[in-house]
Every structure is written in C-alpha cells, then in structure tokens.
Symmetry: C2
C-alpha cells in the first residue's frame, strides 16, 4: 500500500510554520509497512487543492490530508471536499454534541463568565453527507473519510495534537486491518568520529554486496552519521531475518565509531546509560543556553536521572551560582579550560550528581576575537574523581554551533562514562 | 513569478528528518515577491524525481530543488538532472580546486594525520555540461542552474547551511534582477488571551470589508493567535500603503489582545522590552527543563539582557541552587504557589537580575495525581518589589504542555513589565 500526504495552508508556502505533521505521519505509516511516495504542500487555494487531490488519487491507494479545517474563514477544504466527492454539507448530530460538550467543559474549567458558542463553532458540526466521520477527541473539527476509485482519502485538521489523536484512535487501527500491506522494515545505527565520505569508503564493499531489496542510506548531521538499512518484502519474518543479518555485518564494519544500534538520539543514549547504571547527571551551560537541558527533559522520565542545569549565561552567574572564582574568569576568560573545569566541579557540588558536563563558547555572530574566534568552545565532563576537557572550533552559524556543541559534549560524556 | 520547491530524500518520506529548508526558502522568496505555489517531497527514486520535475517545470517559472547531492551512493539527483537536461558529466576545474582547498583547510586545522581526498570527494567536482555552476562556499557539492522552456531550475545540496549560502550568494541576487517580480507584502501581529473563533468573530466585519487583493489568515498556536494580512499587486508603494491602512484598522480591532505588531515571537518581544529599558532577566525552570532559556539564547545578542536560568529539575536542586526551603517543598509540594514564589526570589538573588520568572508543573505523561493532574503548572514572575503567581491547567501531551507553559510565562512577564 502506498500513500501520498497533502498538507494545506498558506502558512506552509510563505514559510511561517514548519510542517512537522508530515514527518510524524510518515513514521507511523512506515511502521505499518505503508510507503509514503510523495508529500505535497499547497496553499488555501481551491484550484491547487483540487489538482493535488486529483494527482494523488491517481497514483496512491491512501491519501492523507491535514489542514484547512479550522473555524475561521480562510479554510476552504471542507466545502471543496464536499464538492469533489459529490455530496452536500449536513449537520452531524454526534459532532454537534461533541462540540457543545467541549464548550461546556471549557466553561466549567474557567468558572466566571461562560464563553458562548458561536455560529462558526456550530459550523464545525457540518460534514459532507458522502463521508464517514472520524471522531476528533482533542478538538472541534472532525476527521472525514472518503472513498474514490479504490483510493481512501482522509482529511484531518492541521493542529498536530488533534491530527495525531484522530490517527491513533480512528485511522491507524483501520489501516492495520488492511490485507494488502507490504513489509517495510528499518534498522538504524548512529556513528560519531568520521565524516560521511569516510564512513562510505569504509563500507563500500558491504554496500555493493547488499541484495537489491535492502537499501542503505546515509543521514549525516552535526558531527555524526546515521546509517539506515531498509528492507522491503512481503513476508515479515524473512525481511526481518535478512535485515538483521546485514545489520550485524554493518555494525562490525563500523564497530569503533558506533554510538548506538537503536533508532535513538545521542542524548537518549546517555540517558539510557545513566538509567541502566542508576547514576545521575547535571550540567552547566553557558553557550548552549539551556539547549542541552531541553534535549534531555523532552524525554519522559528523564527526571529520574537528570538533576538539572545551571544556565550561567553571564560571568557573574558563573561565580554566584557555580562558585567559579572571579579571578579565573578574569585571567583565563569565560571561554577557557580552567572555567569549564570549575563549572563541572561547581555543578557536581551544587546538584549532587554522579556526573557533570559543562560548556562555554562563542556561538556568534558577535563576540569573537582573533585569539578566540566565533566557534571556539571548551567542553568538560567528569565526576568526583576525574575531569576531562577538550577544545573545539566550529565554523558555522549560531544555530549549528549550538547543536554541534551539544552533540560533542554528550558524546564526550558518553565515552567518559564507558571508560568508568 | 511563481516557484515550486522540490525536496529530495528518502529520509523525508520515512519521517526521519523534518524539512526545514522549504520554510526558509519560502520566506526568502516571499520577501522578493515570488509566490511559492507548491512544495513537493519525493524519495531517492529516479522515476519520482523525474515526474516531480516534469510537473514543476510545466507550472512554474522557478523550480528550486534541495537534497540528493551528497558524496554517498544513495544520491542519484546529479546523474538524473544531467540526463533530464540532455548533458553529460564533466569535471569542473573551479569546483575541483574548491574541493581540494576545503580538504587542505580541514587537514591544516586538525594537524596530525591528514585526511586523504577520496574518489567520491573528487566526484563532487563533476557537473552536467549543460548547467551553470553555482559556487558553494560552505561545502563540496556545488549548486547547479538549468534553463528549460522558460523555467529556471536550480539544484542545491540538502544540508541547510550549504543551501542557504548558495541562495544568499548566488541565487537571491540573481532573482532580484528579474523584472517580472510581483509585489507580495505581509503584515503580521500576535494576540494572546482569546481563541481563534473569538478573534474571528470580533473582526468579522473588518474581514468582510477587505478588498480582494488583501487576504487575512489566522495562525493559532499555543495559547496565541497570529493574524497575517497579505497584499498582492504590482506597485510596491500602493500595496504597502493599502496594507498599512488595513493593518492599522486591524490593530485597533484587537488592541486589548495585541502582543506585538511585528513579525516576532513572544519571547522576542520580552527581550526587546528588556533591551529598550536596559533591564535584565533570569529564570528558574523546573517543568520547562531549559526550554525557556533555549528560546531566549537562540536570539543573537540575548546575552546583554539575559543572565541565565536555574534548571532545577530535582527537588534537591531547588533547595541547593535557589535556596527554596526543604520544608516548603515537603509541605506544599514542588508544584505549588509557595515554591514558584521562592524560586523567583532565589533567582533574583542568585543572578542579580531586575526581573525573574519561575515555572513548576507536571508535564506528563507520568507524575500526575488526583489533586495535581498532568498539566498542572504554577508560574510566577516578579522583581524585588512584587511577585505575582498564577496556576494553569493544560490538557495536552508533554511537548505541547512545555510550549504552552513557556508562552504563558513569557506573556505573564510581559504584562507584569508593562505595568511597572
């Protein structure tokens, strides 16, 4: 089964928002063995939506549409779908009851003056009489399912958590019952320490010997290269067996660069190691400004191993929060080996964690000097017995320098932990 | 002039990476008056790329392609483009010299054992003889410009900072010289305090009275609604004048909800207010785990007003870093008015800032109780003279709860600052 994803909204074409729905949908579909063959974004434009729908129905068995269903006037998707599939809009009693219930709940939560239901909220209960309504537990705009020429077309609101709830509760269970699903399986590993070209050179023979139905892909990002093997077939057992064999070979080829053989990010590897050992971590961030802590705390359950981070952006804070001596900062500069070592020490003391990591650097665009140009970063990691420090020099923009610093710091900590 | 953006890469179709290139490209093109009419993502698949190219050339004067140009074997875009435009691959001497120079620079930076140039690196210097080469100052894969049937087709690598450099240095200057550019202008404002439906209801008369060539769009996100007016025309002076008139009217319609009439995010408004007044900010984050600090420190120059953040994830850290009394935490719980008030006080003291903000809450999925369910958050903002606290109850997933908490906290601080 193959799928085309259509996302609708002018905001996608003027770059005001980044489309995260498509990636989420693609992951969920892939896990079911449904291949996404194309993703298309069009504006709130009748003709463009119509044409995208025409093209998609022609070449896919499943079409998922997100966006264009909100309560405001810039939304034209519902009337278009109604006309496209030859129906008329009618009030759906269940949706109407649901919309009313949502308003009652909001009003009872707030107390005070109740919010009246508006004409435009009631309109959300109107659906084409040629669709099957998919319940939206998280909002007022329902999902809609249409059938045409053997293609299933499903329209959902663009608000990510509403779309996801409709997918989880109504769409994915239905797709799972489909008998025509192929098998698409992935195995992913993460390497650090060598660039894309060198990794490719090293595993060239392996890649050339791969059977046709197993593909290798390189996904380089911020000082690391992710390698993905994809196996396609009809029998899950056979596909998995072949894929696992090849994956074992691949792991041996890159054993010295291997960070993880699971589909997880570097900071997730660190969290997992900590949890497995029953140990804890704290950090002191200057130049990453809270980004490393944010990465860690996005993961549910991280509070069991993560004590916190001192985001000490000012020099005064490096002293007052972490006890870094003023003289050290004045003599060595805030971006120096001495300061990051002191930050690790202060961090271990303040947070009482087993491990600590610290970074200080110049992320740009301003703040550089001849001696310490933009991209200069000091990283330290350690525990009560030992602290190791390393200087890096990145050449990129602020955003990329922050990402690179975080990745190098987490990898340094990972290697330090593995040596303990 | 209209444009279609094609992004290439299997990783986009299996959801392993989120496409941020398209949004950046769309913003840059829009600023020039070039309308993006469609965005398409296809995999590393010969037929899919070919067809997307065919369709795009048929309906746009400009086609921008990103991705599929790296040094590894999963990249098929260059040979495809060569065949599509009827050329053959030849070594380009300038690109070759550039690739060699990059390797020499890397090797001199590293010292130690030099990295040899590989066959596949040299291959990057091969380009179709029917294209104009666009210099890539940030990497080894060059951009390529083709012409067909009056359409300009430009292919660039998918690595964001390489793509951006080619755009800035080679593509945008050339597009600016085009005489067929229309005028597309936007005015954007941000509101907080009412949902999309209510804002729409309030400005319905304004919206209905808008001339045809000015469109209004609603962009709701995390407790706020952004309103965007878009004016289209041929004469920049006329478009801007009309748009500014309507924008003034719109601002009056929503004056009491208005956060900013610039295209900036809420935390940027707070930073701007601080900078204008010469005041400083620090924060204490429990449940947002560094996200608020990350938002602030992504902005270049934030170090002039931002002192830092104490990410006190554990209860022990709330005490040891910020001096919140153990008894308060034990008696009231970590998610309580007393604790966030103490966090603000500790924060003002430790960081010596003019203002401080603090949040503590239960983001989910775990950690909730009957009394304090997932989504319960306490926020406090204040200065040395006054601290204000507020309880929120969000109903969403971890990611969304974190975003909502940050937005409500920044807005509470903004309102507090405006009252001072």
């Amino acid at each position: 089964m193959n799928c085309i994803i259509i996302t609708i909204g002018d905001e996608l074409l003027i770059g005001q928002v980044i489309d995260t729905n498509s990636a989420w949908l693609a992951r969920e579909l892939n896990a079911l063995g449904i291949a996404v063959t194309r993703r298309v974004s069009v504006g709130d434009d009748w003709q463009a939506i119509w044409q995208a729908l025409d093209n998609a129905i022609e070449s896919a068995e499943l079409v998922l549409i997100t966006g264009g269903l909100g309560p405001t006037a810039d939304d034209i998707t519902k009337p278009l779908l109604c006309q496209y599939f030859g129906g008329k809009l009618i009030v759906n009693d269940q949706v109407l009851a649901h919309v009313r219930a949502i308003f009652e709940r909001i009003n009872s939560d707030r107390g005070g003056k109740p919010r009246p239901m508006l004409e435009r909220n009631l309109k959300q209960a109107e659906v084409p009489d040629v669709c099957e309504v998919l319940h939206n537990p998280a909002g007022t705009a329902p999902g809609m399912l249409f059938q045409k020429n053997g293609t299933m077309v499903i329209s959902m609101p663009g608000v990510p958590h509403e779309m996801k709830e409709i997918m989880r509760q109504a769409v994915l269970p239905r797709l799972r019952q489909n008998e025509n699903l192929g098998v698409v399986e992935h195995r992913t590993l993460l390497t650090a320490g060598q660039g894309e070209s060198y990794v490719a050179e090293r595993i060239q023979a392996f890649e050339n010997a791969l059977p046709k139905h197993i593909r290798l892909a390189y996904l380089p990002s911020y000082g690391m290269v992710r390698l993905r093997l994809t196996g396609i077939g009809t029998d899950r057992v056979i596909v998995e067996e072949e894929l696992d064999q090849q994956f074992e070979k691949l792991k041996q080829e890159v054993f010295d660069l291997l960070v993880t053989d699971r589909d997880e990010q570097l900071h997730q590897v660190v969290l997992r190691l900590l949890a497995e050992r029953g140990e804890t971590l704290a950090m002191a961030e200057s130049c990453t400004g809270g980004y490393m802590a944010h990465l860690v705390t996005q993961i549910p359950g991280s509070s069991s191993v993560f004590m916190g981070s001192a985001v000490v952006y000012s020099n005064a804070a490096k002293h007052s929060v972490l006890g870094v001596p003023i003289e050290t900062i004045e003599q060595q500069g805030a971006v120096s080996e001495a300061v990051v070592r002191d930050m690790v020490e202060g961090c271990l003391l303040k947070f009482g964690s087993r491990y600590a990591m610290a970074v200080s650097g110049i992320m740009g665009p301003g703040g550089g000097s001849d001696e310490k140009p933009v991209g200069t970063v000091w990283i330290a990691v350690g525990n009560a017995h030992k602290i190791e420090a390393q200087q890096m020099r990145f050449r990129f923009d602020r955003h990329r320098n922050i990402e690179l610093t975080a990745n190098y710091a987490f990898n340094l900590l990972r290697l330090f932990m593995l040596r303990q």
